[in-house]
Symmetry: C2
Subunit: 402 residues, 2 copies
Amino acid sequence: MTAPPHETRPRNTGRALPDTQQGMRRRNLARVLHSVSAEGPLSRAGVAARIGLTRAAVSTLVDELIRAGLLEELGPERPARVGRPGSALTVSDRGPAGIGAEIGVDHLAVCAVDLRGAVRARAVRHGGNRGRAPGPVLEDLTALIHRVVAEAERAELWPAGLAVAVPGLVAGDGRTVVRAPNLDWLDTDLGGLLPADWPLTVDNEANFGALAELWLVDGTPRDFLHVSAEIGIGAAIVVDGDLLRGARGFAGELGHVPVRPDGPACACGGRGCLERYAGEEAVSRAAGVEPRGDTVRLLQERAEGGDEGVRAALRDAGTALGIALTGAVNLLDPETVVLGGALAGLSPWLLPSLEAELTGRTTGPACPVTVSGLGSEGPLLGAAHSVVRAVLDDPASVAGRS
Amino acid sequence: MTAPPHETRPRNTGRALPDTQQGMRRRNLARVLHSVSAEGPLSRAGVAARIGLTRAAVSTLVDELIRAGLLEELGPERPARVGRPGSALTVSDRGPAGIGAEIGVDHLAVCAVDLRGAVRARAVRHGGNRGRAPGPVLEDLTALIHRVVAEAERAELWPAGLAVAVPGLVAGDGRTVVRAPNLDWLDTDLGGLLPADWPLTVDNEANFGALAELWLVDGTPRDFLHVSAEIGIGAAIVVDGDLLRGARGFAGELGHVPVRPDGPACACGGRGCLERYAGEEAVSRAAGVEPRGDTVRLLQERAEGGDEGVRAALRDAGTALGIALTGAVNLLDPETVVLGGALAGLSPWLLPSLEAELTGRTTGPACPVTVSGLGSEGPLLGAAHSVVRAVLDDPASVAGRS
DNA sequence: TTAATTTGTCAACGGCCATGACGAATAGGC
DNA sequence: GCCTATTCGTCATGGCCGTTGACAAATTAA
């Protein structure tokens, strides 16, 4: 039988698994693992109370997760209250690992994160990649990956997947880089150029950065806007704890939101786009700084040093950002706006004018703007954690391996 | 046991029901009903083939749905191919009905829609409501509701819920109107002023209009932007077949997206908001028309009559809309933009300049802009159908009643 | 009339969680 | 030191639910 012509599944099921008993089992495995992962060491009884299953059911689920190497038994708990003490369970630190990789404009980085969320291995290679062909860059990256994987394997971890953060737009297939302006890459399928030993995901670094914020920073709401400026100015939109990708996967192009409709022409075909006011090139020109490899650091140093020209340029960029974000906040009603990537370091000089625009243009309480605490680590960590989350969300998918 | 401190459910489950056997049954009931609803009369075997369950399982599910009055047996099918002919099943037209209501600035409307999607009863009351207190308006509305319900009941339908579309912002509780500028209502809980005989939902008319577009117009994609102008200018954002509501439920405020950051001051506190260029008041002023009850119709007549001043005003409004939508499209990457509400009637004069901005400011294929086919019926139909969809999505929720 | 095919149903079965009972392991009271 | 209350983990049993396999019914094709 072929696929039905219409959508015949009810809305609520979403991407849920088939509504079969195995699907139910699968989801319950995930709930048990999630519960232990989120709330530290826990006894079987503790898990049962939290997720609403019986102790007996949790026992069989836990057995399965232990056999799969995802949970570990720590032995008897310190008895805090009367009654037989439970046997503490933890997520294993010798099970699957998420391998995250980042292709930056002037560096490559790879790391391995275990199920507990700890970084267990990492490798970095400094050096500009602007204009280098994909082949050599990915050869270098593959070398780093193999080094990190080897180190992870010495720690009895095994890679459950590879996620790569790139500074550019990624097609819906999750493998092809459509356009990476700062690398000069066009329509490059990374799948053929990277080791095929593990499931591969490729995504925009802004998206991974936003997910890192969501997963790793306490207090991050489930609806927020994560703005970063590495490639132009990108926004990752998180709705109910999930990335909003858009119909073609190109959502979040904040850089080309019109700020002054009659402003200077932009490469995108429009006029007065945000990038012409707050993009790296525009800001450095306004600041009288010659663009180079790490312009951002230079700007930051000059601003810290009190260079009034640089500060004024950043103030103006903040104003433009505030105008564009006013539109975005009106449309999306996020709980917060988070400045990440290069913007985080420059925030002391961007924020005042940005917030002035945002509050001045809104009635009622303005949307709070915060600065990412992860700094430039976000995309790499987000990539590695995305693999870990995939395992936590469906442990059965890796139960067969080891 | 109290609620767990963290979110311990894996992401994929979304709003899914508890992962129990009854939950599975519930979802499968929904899948069967959905399947019959979407693909016309179908035999049990046909349903089984489509949703991937066995004929035996479908049989018991169908029995339950028939007992609940949601499905009907039509008798033997016309045998098209060899083999015993199946017994055709249809969604019942004597089961639950969705009651939709609309509070417009100058009319009230109520209708009843059966499970098949047919409008089975309706009532309208013309007359302006601008500035009337909520009490009298809702009394009038209640009278219309009772009339429609009585008519539906004569057709052996029973109301499964009441959904009310209002021209204003609605709080997250789905009952309270936070602000309805054109009615002059503030923080009004409609729950206490409407019949409490059925589950009540209150939502923005733009949201219901967008849902109507999604559910009733063939070819509507699952990711689109629905722009309407009744209260200011609102956009309903549909992502993967679901409304994007935002953290506070206020998403879609397109009217206050900055179009010219140094433009005229707006009541919202900002400057140069879209509403100052394309809002009803701004357009009628630019056109030299005195605002009154049904300004939109007046503008439409004048434009049709060839009034160059009105046409120029609408062109300018289209330009402003195009600028604001460029920002929205860049952020959200929708598959299409749909003009609904009052904008649909004015589209002949808005579209050219709107599309010129949109295509001129984008590289690659521009996001297509279409005009709603539902006209002013959208919100009312969307409201009624939202109740019907709720039944289709979880038939067990109404199985007890009748 | 016979063979082939498809439908709807039934009985038996297997997977999965709930129920209830049990031994094990602890704290507190005497 | 001993007994009771409490909690933990496990086991056997049962109920719910979809699957499997078989069968009668109803149709077409030969």
